[in-house]
Amino acid sequence: MILLQAIGYGLIVLGVIFDLFGCIGLVRLPDFHNRMHAAMKCVTLGTMSILIGAALASGSGAIMAKALLCALFIAITAPTAAHALSRAAYLSGVVPAHKEICDHYGADRRARGEERS
Protein backbone atom coordinates (compact mmCIF):
# COMPACT_ATOMS: atom_id res chain seq x y z
CA MET A 1 0.00 0.00 0.00
CA ILE A 2 2.79 2.39 0.95
CA LEU A 3 4.67 1.34 -2.18
CA LEU A 4 1.64 2.04 -4.40
CA GLN A 5 1.19 5.45 -2.78
CA ALA A 6 4.86 6.29 -3.30
CA ILE A 7 4.67 5.28 -6.97
CA GLY A 8 1.46 7.30 -7.37
CA TYR A 9 2.89 10.48 -5.86
CA GLY A 10 6.04 10.05 -7.92
CA LEU A 11 3.93 9.81 -11.08
CA ILE A 12 2.00 12.94 -10.06
CA VAL A 13 5.19 14.95 -9.58
CA LEU A 14 6.54 13.67 -12.92
CA GLY A 15 3.30 14.59 -14.65
CA VAL A 16 3.24 18.10 -13.24
CA ILE A 17 6.83 18.62 -14.39
CA PHE A 18 5.89 17.42 -17.90
CA ASP A 19 2.85 19.74 -17.89
CA LEU A 20 5.08 22.66 -16.98
CA PHE A 21 7.57 21.80 -19.74
CA GLY A 22 4.76 21.56 -22.27
CA CYS A 23 3.32 24.93 -21.31
CA ILE A 24 6.78 26.55 -21.38
CA GLY A 25 7.16 25.13 -24.88
CA LEU A 26 3.75 26.53 -25.76
CA VAL A 27 4.96 29.99 -24.82
CA ARG A 28 8.59 29.91 -25.91
CA LEU A 29 8.70 28.19 -29.30
CA PRO A 30 8.63 30.34 -32.45
CA ASP A 31 6.11 28.63 -34.71
CA PHE A 32 2.61 27.17 -34.51
CA HIS A 33 3.66 23.65 -35.43
CA ASN A 34 6.60 23.72 -33.03
CA ARG A 35 4.32 24.90 -30.24
CA MET A 36 1.78 22.20 -30.95
CA HIS A 37 4.49 19.54 -31.09
CA ALA A 38 5.82 20.48 -27.65
CA ALA A 39 2.54 21.23 -25.95
CA MET A 40 0.43 18.30 -27.11
CA LYS A 41 3.06 15.68 -26.43
CA CYS A 42 4.21 16.92 -23.05
CA VAL A 43 0.82 17.96 -21.72
CA THR A 44 -0.95 14.76 -22.76
CA LEU A 45 1.77 12.63 -21.21
CA GLY A 46 1.80 14.83 -18.10
CA THR A 47 -1.94 14.76 -17.52
CA MET A 48 -2.19 11.03 -18.16
CA SER A 49 0.62 10.55 -15.68
CA ILE A 50 -1.24 12.68 -13.10
CA LEU A 51 -4.41 10.64 -13.63
CA ILE A 52 -2.64 7.27 -13.34
CA GLY A 53 -0.79 8.54 -10.28
CA ALA A 54 -4.07 9.60 -8.66
CA ALA A 55 -5.56 6.19 -9.47
CA LEU A 56 -2.61 4.43 -7.81
CA ALA A 57 -2.36 6.73 -4.80
CA SER A 58 -6.05 6.87 -3.90
CA GLY A 59 -6.57 3.19 -3.19
CA SER A 60 -10.33 3.50 -3.79
CA GLY A 61 -12.05 1.51 -6.49
CA ALA A 62 -14.36 4.23 -7.80
CA ILE A 63 -11.59 6.84 -8.06
CA MET A 64 -9.31 4.33 -9.76
CA ALA A 65 -11.93 3.33 -12.35
CA LYS A 66 -12.87 6.93 -13.17
CA ALA A 67 -9.27 8.11 -13.37
CA LEU A 68 -8.30 5.26 -15.69
CA LEU A 69 -11.37 5.93 -17.85
CA CYS A 70 -10.42 9.60 -18.05
CA ALA A 71 -6.82 8.72 -18.95
CA LEU A 72 -8.04 6.40 -21.71
CA PHE A 73 -10.35 9.12 -23.02
CA ILE A 74 -7.53 11.67 -23.13
CA ALA A 75 -5.23 9.14 -24.82
CA ILE A 76 -7.81 8.64 -27.55
CA THR A 77 -9.02 12.20 -28.07
CA ALA A 78 -5.96 14.43 -27.66
CA PRO A 79 -4.03 13.15 -30.74
CA THR A 80 -7.25 13.35 -32.77
CA ALA A 81 -7.77 16.97 -31.81
CA ALA A 82 -4.11 17.77 -32.50
CA HIS A 83 -4.28 16.20 -35.96
CA ALA A 84 -7.48 18.03 -36.89
CA LEU A 85 -6.11 21.32 -35.62
CA SER A 86 -2.77 21.04 -37.42
CA ARG A 87 -4.57 20.23 -40.68
CA ALA A 88 -6.87 23.20 -40.14
CA ALA A 89 -3.89 25.45 -39.45
CA TYR A 90 -2.22 24.31 -42.66
CA LEU A 91 -5.39 24.89 -44.67
CA SER A 92 -5.98 28.31 -43.12
CA GLY A 93 -2.49 29.38 -44.19
CA VAL A 94 -0.36 29.61 -41.03
CA VAL A 95 3.10 30.73 -42.09
CA PRO A 96 6.06 28.83 -40.59
CA ALA A 97 8.75 30.85 -38.82
CA HIS A 98 11.57 29.32 -40.87
CA LYS A 99 11.75 28.22 -44.47
CA GLU A 100 9.84 25.04 -45.15
CA ILE A 101 12.35 22.30 -45.88
CA CYS A 102 9.94 19.41 -46.30
CA ASP A 103 6.23 19.70 -47.10
CA HIS A 104 4.85 16.29 -48.01
CA TYR A 105 1.23 17.25 -47.38
CA GLY A 106 1.53 20.23 -49.73
CA ALA A 107 3.24 18.02 -52.34
CA ASP A 108 0.37 15.51 -52.13
CA ARG A 109 -2.18 18.27 -52.45
CA ARG A 110 -0.39 19.72 -55.48
CA ALA A 111 -0.20 16.25 -57.03
CA ARG A 112 -3.97 15.90 -56.60
CA GLY A 113 -4.43 19.31 -58.18
CA GLU A 114 -5.73 21.09 -55.06
CA GLU A 115 -4.53 24.60 -54.43
CA ARG A 116 -3.10 25.63 -51.09
CA SER A 117 -5.65 28.13 -49.92
Partner: protein, 87 residues
Protein backbone atom coordinates in the same frame (compact mmCIF):
# COMPACT_ATOMS: atom_id res chain seq x y z
CA UNK B 1 1.55 19.30 2.57
CA UNK B 2 4.54 21.11 1.08
CA UNK B 3 4.38 18.73 -1.90
CA UNK B 4 0.70 19.53 -2.41
CA UNK B 5 1.32 23.28 -2.39
CA UNK B 6 4.24 22.95 -4.82
CA UNK B 7 2.20 20.80 -7.23
CA UNK B 8 -0.78 23.18 -7.19
CA UNK B 9 1.48 26.21 -7.74
CA UNK B 10 3.17 24.50 -10.71
CA UNK B 11 -0.21 23.68 -12.28
CA UNK B 12 -1.29 27.30 -11.75
CA UNK B 13 1.88 28.37 -13.56
CA UNK B 14 0.82 26.09 -16.45
CA UNK B 15 -2.61 27.74 -16.51
CA UNK B 16 -1.09 31.23 -16.63
CA UNK B 17 1.29 30.25 -19.44
CA UNK B 18 -1.67 28.95 -21.45
CA UNK B 19 -3.59 32.16 -20.76
CA UNK B 20 -0.60 34.18 -21.98
CA UNK B 21 -0.61 32.24 -25.25
CA UNK B 22 -4.39 32.66 -25.60
CA UNK B 23 -4.09 36.40 -25.14
CA UNK B 24 -0.92 36.92 -27.17
CA UNK B 25 -1.21 34.25 -29.89
CA UNK B 26 -0.67 35.73 -33.33
CA UNK B 27 -3.08 33.44 -35.16
CA UNK B 28 -6.37 31.70 -34.41
CA UNK B 29 -4.93 28.11 -34.34
CA UNK B 30 -2.47 29.23 -31.64
CA UNK B 31 -5.35 30.36 -29.48
CA UNK B 32 -7.36 27.22 -30.05
CA UNK B 33 -4.44 24.90 -29.26
CA UNK B 34 -3.84 26.90 -26.07
CA UNK B 35 -7.54 26.46 -25.16
CA UNK B 36 -7.22 22.72 -25.68
CA UNK B 37 -4.11 22.58 -23.49
CA UNK B 38 -5.91 24.61 -20.84
CA UNK B 39 -8.71 22.03 -20.78
CA UNK B 40 -6.25 19.16 -20.43
CA UNK B 41 -4.43 20.93 -17.57
CA UNK B 42 -7.80 21.44 -15.88
CA UNK B 43 -8.47 17.69 -16.07
CA UNK B 44 -5.18 17.18 -14.22
CA UNK B 45 -6.33 19.72 -11.65
CA UNK B 46 -9.56 17.74 -11.16
CA UNK B 47 -7.56 14.55 -10.57
CA UNK B 48 -5.45 16.36 -8.01
CA UNK B 49 -8.54 17.71 -6.21
CA UNK B 50 -9.96 14.17 -6.13
CA UNK B 51 -6.83 12.94 -4.44
CA UNK B 52 -6.78 15.83 -1.96
CA UNK B 53 -10.42 15.66 -0.86
CA UNK B 54 -11.05 11.93 -1.33
CA UNK B 55 -14.34 12.56 -3.13
CA UNK B 56 -14.72 11.13 -6.59
CA UNK B 57 -17.19 13.53 -8.19
CA UNK B 58 -14.35 15.85 -9.24
CA UNK B 59 -13.36 13.21 -11.77
CA UNK B 60 -16.83 13.41 -13.32
CA UNK B 61 -16.11 17.10 -13.88
CA UNK B 62 -12.78 16.12 -15.42
CA UNK B 63 -14.33 13.64 -17.86
CA UNK B 64 -17.03 16.11 -18.90
CA UNK B 65 -14.43 18.87 -19.30
CA UNK B 66 -12.25 16.64 -21.49
CA UNK B 67 -15.24 15.80 -23.71
CA UNK B 68 -16.29 19.44 -24.07
CA UNK B 69 -12.74 20.54 -24.81
CA UNK B 70 -12.40 17.84 -27.48
CA UNK B 71 -15.69 18.73 -29.17
CA UNK B 72 -14.89 22.44 -29.04
CA UNK B 73 -11.45 21.89 -30.56
CA UNK B 74 -12.89 19.78 -33.37
CA UNK B 75 -15.52 22.43 -34.11
CA UNK B 76 -12.88 25.18 -34.15
CA UNK B 77 -10.68 23.08 -36.45
CA UNK B 78 -13.54 22.53 -38.90
CA UNK B 79 -14.33 26.22 -38.82
CA UNK B 80 -10.69 27.17 -39.43
CA UNK B 81 -10.39 24.71 -42.32
CA UNK B 82 -13.30 26.53 -43.92
CA UNK B 83 -15.77 23.68 -43.98
CA UNK B 84 -19.26 23.19 -42.62
CA UNK B 85 -19.93 21.44 -39.32
CA UNK B 86 -21.94 18.59 -40.84
CA UNK B 87 -19.49 17.07 -43.33
Amino acid sequence: MILTIVVVVLLLACVFLCLYRIGRGPSAPDRSIALDILGIVTVGFCALLTLLTGQDFYLNIGIAWAMLSFIGTLALAKHLAGRGFDE
